[in-house]
């Protein structure tokens, strides 16, 4: 399941979707990315490409499901304005085995940062704002 949403993420509801009360899956790995205070930040603003972003996220999930044996894959990203300390992105993966869950979750995050049309603008305390420039390390990680 993928989602792009303007509303805050409901982490309890997301985590609840990974539960496995009948013991179908043994391993759940999650990643949560939060607006970090990298010096005077008050908020982020996320631009996206409506016709493409969801589609690209769906293709990414399909790619992960082909590469690893996964039970559930959840990929949720906020768009619009997001305040300091709030979650921006949440990825949850379940699998029978932990190595696959870890590998898939990390792959999804790397790919999300390097190939999904989403752009962050940082808003600072003093009213300035600027677009975040992609770090070389993200592009490199995605090529692995």
């Amino acid at each position: 399941m993928i989602a792009l949403q303007r509303e805050p993420l409901d982490l309890n509801a997301l985590n609840a979707q990974l539960e496995s009360p009948n013991g179908e899956t043994g391993a759940a790995v999650t990643f949560c990315g939060t607006v970090r205070d990298d010096g005077q930040v008050i908020a982020l603003e996320l631009d996206h490409y409506p016709a493409m972003t969801e589609l690209a996220m769906q293709q990414l999930v399909a790619e992960a499901e082909q590469r690893w044996t996964l039970a559930k894959v959840l990929l949720i990203h906020r768009v619009g304005r997001i305040e300091l300390g709030q979650p921006i992105v949440w990825v949850g993966v379940t699998s029978a085995h932990r190595a696959e869950a870890f590998a898939a979750c990390e792959f999804l995050m790397d790919a999300l940062k390097s190939r999904i049309p989403l752009w962050k603008k940082v808003h600072y305390h003093d009213g300035r704002s600027e677009w975040v420039e992609a770090k070389g390390s993200d592009a490199q990680r995605a090529e692995r």
């Binding site: 996320l46 490409y49 016709a51 999904i116 752009w119 962050k120 677009w131 992609a134 592009a139």
Partner: protein, 80 residues
């Protein structure tokens, strides 16, 4: 053909989308046509158009544009 711009590129150009009438064989050729409009376009593209999508799919400059409805240019993505 509809051409879209996002994020810093959109802001720098002051343009969100346009209809481009001139035929272009490839994505790279369209990129050259757009950049040739003015020094401002040249500069904005050089700095903020590292990625592009053809009909909603990330594509290299060699991609042919026959039967294409929508092209988008944008900076390297920074989600997550």
């Amino acid at each position: 053909m509809k051409v879209l711009f996002f994020a810093a590129l959109k802001e720098q150009l002051g343009v969100e989308q346009l209809d481009w009438p001139t035929p272009a064989a490839t994505l790279g050729e369209l990129r050259q046509q757009l950049m040739a409009q003015s020094p401002e376009w040249q500069q904005a593209f050089s700095r903020y158009a590292q990625m592009a999508a053809v009909d909603q799919s990330l594509s290299p400059d060699s991609t042919p544009l026959a039967d294409v409805q929508e092209v988008a240019f944008f900076p390297r993505v920074t989600g997550g």
